[in-house]
Amino acid sequence: MIPFSYSRAGTAEQATAAAASGHRLLGGGTNLVDLMRRGVEQPERLVDVTGLSDDIRPTPQGGLMIGGAVRNAALAGHPAVRREYPVLSRAVLAGASAQIRNMATVAGNIMQRTRCAYFTDAATRGCNKRSPGSGCDAQGGFSRYHAILGGSSACIATHPSDMCVALAALDAQVHLASAAGLRVVPLVEFHRLPGDAPHLDTVLQPGEIITALELPPPPAAMRSAYRKVRDRASYAFALVSVAACVTVDRGTLTDIRLAFGGIAPKPWRALRAEEALRGTPATPQAIAAALALDFAEAKPLDGNAFKLPLASRTAMAVLADLIGDAA
């Protein structure tokens, strides 16, 4: 680890000013500090942003505004989140460990970097995300945790967050601030696909910070579930995860939002399946056919081909449960 300076920002303005002058933002440090220890990240200046808003408050529209510095554990345990958005609470609790969730912030969770083993080991040579143009050792190496959708020949890393999968299904919005002003980006557009620039994880611009997350009001009568498939019963990243929110009215699926984790460089909304199923009775056959629309473009490797059947089986089981319970 290289020596670095440490300061604290008390306001968003101080934080954006620090970001603009080349500081890296430090949340709970559960990801950044690990990567600094391993020499993957080498910031010379850190600004601690855990003093920024850690409020969770209702919005005039009936949704929730969640400060970027809210700890993961606080988010999962918040009564309004548990009541109105249980899928989010469950997704957060499915991630990491109690100790890590106590430290980790919402903004840090969104910004956490891939767990690709070749990315996190600075001594391996080929990683376009860590060192642009150096290659991609995961291809032809260990790719079990890697993407089947949305990857490119340059990079097939997945975004590891559980929380973001639920946020994608909930149509969350990310609030950003910089010296130039404020802007709002839908979470599903916040993370980038790698294309030929895998070193850029997100659309966040230099000097810009995450200030908050906004959840729109939950649809009435929404039922939701988060299911995470993993190698250990706890404390393991998702091989595949599914966040689903559905509304069923007299046997018809009037609303469905379906997102996958563990299979793509970003939380993956299955928009085609949603469209195919919305307004139908959603029989098992129809669900299978609808999922196939999204998975048609999958490019699995030997090491992760199992994710294709696994993702659809898991989604089918989750949807069958939700629809069955509603009936």
Partner: protein, 775 residues
């Protein structure tokens, strides 16, 4: 190991076979067997309060003046040479005290490898340590930096600029097979053994299984990473260490650094888990050499990643097990062969076929192991080396055969349970596998199992049960002495350089010493963890407990003799010999007439002495050759498998252990339960991700190397037959390792029962299940 060794061991067996029993250790049973004293009592760890309050100081915590801290640099390539090396920036960095590379490291001899014939040899690797610019494996240490703080050392290490001329490395398991070596022996056993024609019998039998089972590399993950704090005063060295081998480490360091043995002191009072990892590795040599150069104490604490890179783990294996039976279930053929990695500079042969040689009677057998020579950090001993992975292959195959024959797998096992050791024909000292299975089946509810796979279900969860045998040999180390000091007030202190890696050595040895010396527990103390004490053997092979017990018993006999001599003619015991009295209730008592007794106080007072001290070693462990001494266990598993995702979740584990006398039910249950948890991890998730392209471990940390998390661990029921072994000290056989054996097979067999899918490749992950099921 050599052909010469085969001959030596062979003749020891023959000679010992001729000798009358009463001449040998174990010839007449230990009189303490079956006595209900301190041994057998539930007793918590005596050092528990020190540990939970943080008062116990581990090797990385010893406060010393002038201490400097070390950081290491590892090679990112597997083979080649250092082409350029620039240490100037590191040397100029803040706080740096020393940069050590092959250019500046003192020239040292290679470390002698662990050996059964030389108890002072402890090396796990015979490779040179910073002696030349050669790179021999990915992860090899290429530089060490000393600085005032760990952070400064770490930063300076990152400034060392090294380039490598890479050479082709041997890193591929499959590609190494054509050059595999066939060693003459595996530990003390001849490697290749055959009786009859097993291949022919296999072809001709009514039922047969012939399959390849594979297990990945496993890495050590004890809670405390390796650490040493080395301090020289002139030519005297004190090393605060976390080690399973105190006396051998002191001897090895003395030899290596050319100082007198009595000028080295290794202190290791507490060790945060060993499992075979805490032997002698490069960090010992590096820290001691660096401390000598700078004339300041040096602390070297391995990072978790460094433990993966420079301390070996369990070798991957590819094993063939073929098993055939006639209609009645009698085994007609048993073949167990395979490949594992063992570079010539390593010490551990991963003896995966040894367990199979003692477990079943078969008309025709063939055993043999082949070693692959790869450019890797040498693998080492890891809890039940050999048996842990060997039992997975063997016991899966037995289950496969039972299924094919529509026979209960317990029944099939018991029909082939041998009366004598199947290869040597030597009688077992004690063996009650059938009893273990009987107890286990009843407690577990084995009768509820449906033998037809994929028949029990709860919602999406397929339910299954499986069982498997575990086994581990009895080992008593051929060395070790203890000192007993008895004072007039009837207190005894027993001392030797024993190791406690958390098992409860001091606790159990105190219990034993109390009984052996006829004193209450509170009057006995057990000193250990210091190489200045009489040398104990290394803690390995689950043999430390009985090795020390034997030495204490020998010392107690000597003490008895000396006390009788001191007691003299004024004693009520006058005229009796050592064999005619015993130590009891704070004195000596005549065996024939318990009314004749003399207290320690009286004897020492009359002799005008405050205390008496004796030091003695145990007799050579010849009982190991006279009898077949083997522990066994019956493992049961109840689990569920998601029909949707293939996730495997364990509902219950139960183990019944036939391991001789249980010395302390509380520490034993915890040891056995821990072993079963490790077996569960081996079954479901533990796997070194070794990238064969680079020879590099890609999951060198606990976030990615998956040991079981709390939620993975079910209710675990631990039981034992409790039948003493009449040939071993206290009737005990050692329980450190057996519990990991057989667990993975019991789990794999239960997965088959639940799903109808047979997985032969560890770990049993859901992708393999989905693939086999053709999802």
């Amino acid at each position: 190991m050599s052909r010469v060794q085969n001959a030596v061991i062979g003749s020891v067996r023959t000679v010992v076979g001729w000798l009358p029993e009463r001449w040998l250790p174990g010839g007449s049973p230990d009189p303490l067997i079956g006595r209900h004293g301190e041994v057998g009592r539930q007793l918590g760890h005596l050092d528990g309060p020190l540990k939970v309050t943080g008062a116990a100081r581990f090797a990385a915590e010893v406060p010393l003046e002038q201490l400097c801290h070390a950081a290491l640099v590892h090679s990112p390539v597997a083979r080649g040479r250092i082409a350029t090396l620039d240490t100037r920036a590191a040397e100029a960095a803040p706080g740096v005290v020393l940069v050590l590379t092959h250019r500046t490291m003192p020239r040292l001899e290679p470390v002698p490898l662990i050996s059964i014939t030389n108890m002072t040899a402890v090396g796990n690797s015979a490779l040179p340590i910073l002696q030349d610019p050669e790179i021999r494996y990915n992860g090899q240490v290429v530089a060490l930096v000393l600085a005032e703080t760990p952070q400064q050392a770490d930063f300076a290490a990152s400034l060392i600029d090294i380039s490598y001329d890479e050479a082709p490395a041997r890193t591929r398991f499959e590609a190494a097979k054509p050059q595999a070596r066939t060693p003459a022996s595996i530990l003390v056993e001849r490697n290749e053994e055959a009786v009859g024609d097993a291949e022919a019998a296999l072809r001709q039998s009514a039922f047969q299984v012939d399959a390849i089972y594979t297990t990945p590399g496993h890495n050590h993950a004890a809670i405390e990473p390796h650490a040493v704090t080395a301090a020289w005063t002139g030519d005297r060295l004190v090393l605060h260490d976390a080690t399973q081998a105190i006396a051998p480490t002191a001897a090895a360091l003395a030899k290596l650094f050319d100082i007198r043995r009595e000028d080295v002191r290794v202190l290791s009072p507490f060790v945060g888990g060993g499992f075979g990892a805490k032997g002698f590795w490069d960090h010992h040599v590096l820290a001691v050499a660096a401390a000598r150069l700078v004339r300041r104490p040096v602390r070297l604490v391995l990072s978790r990643e460094a433990v993966f890179r420079m301390v070996g783990g369990r070798s991957p294996t590819e094993q063939r097990v073929a098993l055939a039976a006639e209609a009645g279930g009698r085994f007609t053929a048993l073949i167990h062969t395979g490949y594992s990695v063992m570079p010539p500079y390593g010490a551990c042969p991963e003896q995966y076929t040894l367990g199979s040689r003692a477990l079943y009677r078969a008309q025709n057998v063939r055993f043999g192991q082949k070693h692959l020579d790869l450019d890797v950090v040498p693998n080492t001993y890891m809890r039940a080396p050999g048996e842990a992975v060997g039992s997975f292959a063997l016991e899966s195959a037995v289950d496969e055969l039972a299924h094919q024959m529509s026979m209960d797998p317990i029944e099939l096992r018991l029909r082939n349970d041998p009366e004598v050791h199947p290869l040597s024909g030597i009688p077992f000292s004690q063996r009650a596998l059938a009893e273990a299975y009987r107890q286990g089946a009843e407690a577990f509810g084995w009768a509820a199992r449906n033998a037809t796979p994929r028949t029990r279900r709860e919602g999406e969860w397929l339910l299954g049960m499986g069982c498997a045998t575990g086994s581990f040999p009895y080992v008593r180390m051929p060395a070790g002495a203890v000192r007993i000091r008895l004072t007039r007030d009837g207190r005894a202190s027993v001392a030797c350089s024993a190791q406690d890696m958390g098992m409860g050595t001091a606790t159990v040895q105190s219990q034993h010493a109390a009984d052996r010396l006829g004193l209450p527990l509170a009057a006995v103390s057990f000193e250990m963890g210091d190489s200045d004490l009489p040398p104990a053997p290394m803690a390995g092979g689950s043999g430390q407990t009985v090795s020390i017990v034997a030495a204490v018993a020998a010392a107690a006999t000597k003490l008895t003799g000396e006390l009788l001599r001191l007691a003299g003619n004024a004693s009520p015991l006058a005229g009796l010999r050592a064999g005619e009295v015993r130590l009891q209730e704070g004195g000596l008592v005549s065996l024939a007439d318990p009314a004749r007794r003399d207290s320690f106080d009286a004897i020492l007072s009359r002799a005008g002495r405050e205390d008496i001290t004796v030091t003695e070693s145990a007799a050579a462990p010849l009982e190991m050759f006279k009898y077949a001494m083997q522990s066994q266990s019956a493992n049961f598993c109840d689990l569920r498998v998601s029909a949707v995702t293939g996730e495997i979740r364990i509902t219950r584990l139960l183990g019944v252990f036939d391991v001789g006398t249980i010395l302390n039910p509380r520490t034993a249950a915890s040891q056995l339960r821990g072993g079963m948890i490790m077996g569960l991890g081996m079954a479901l998730s533990e796997e070194v991700l070794f990238d064969e392209r680079s020879g590099r471990i890609m999951n060198a940390g606990l976030a990615d190397y998956h040991i079981p998390a709390h939620l993975d661990i079910p209710e675990i029921d631990v039981r034992w037959t409790g039948i003493p072994d009449p040939r071993s000290p206290l009737g005990a056989r050692g329980i450190g390792e057996i519990a990991i054996t057989g667990v993975a097979a019991a789990i794999a067999n239960a997965v088959f029962n639940a799903t109808g899918t047979r997985l032969r490749d560890l770990p049993l992950t859901l992708d393999k299940l989905l693939e086999e099921e053709g999802a």
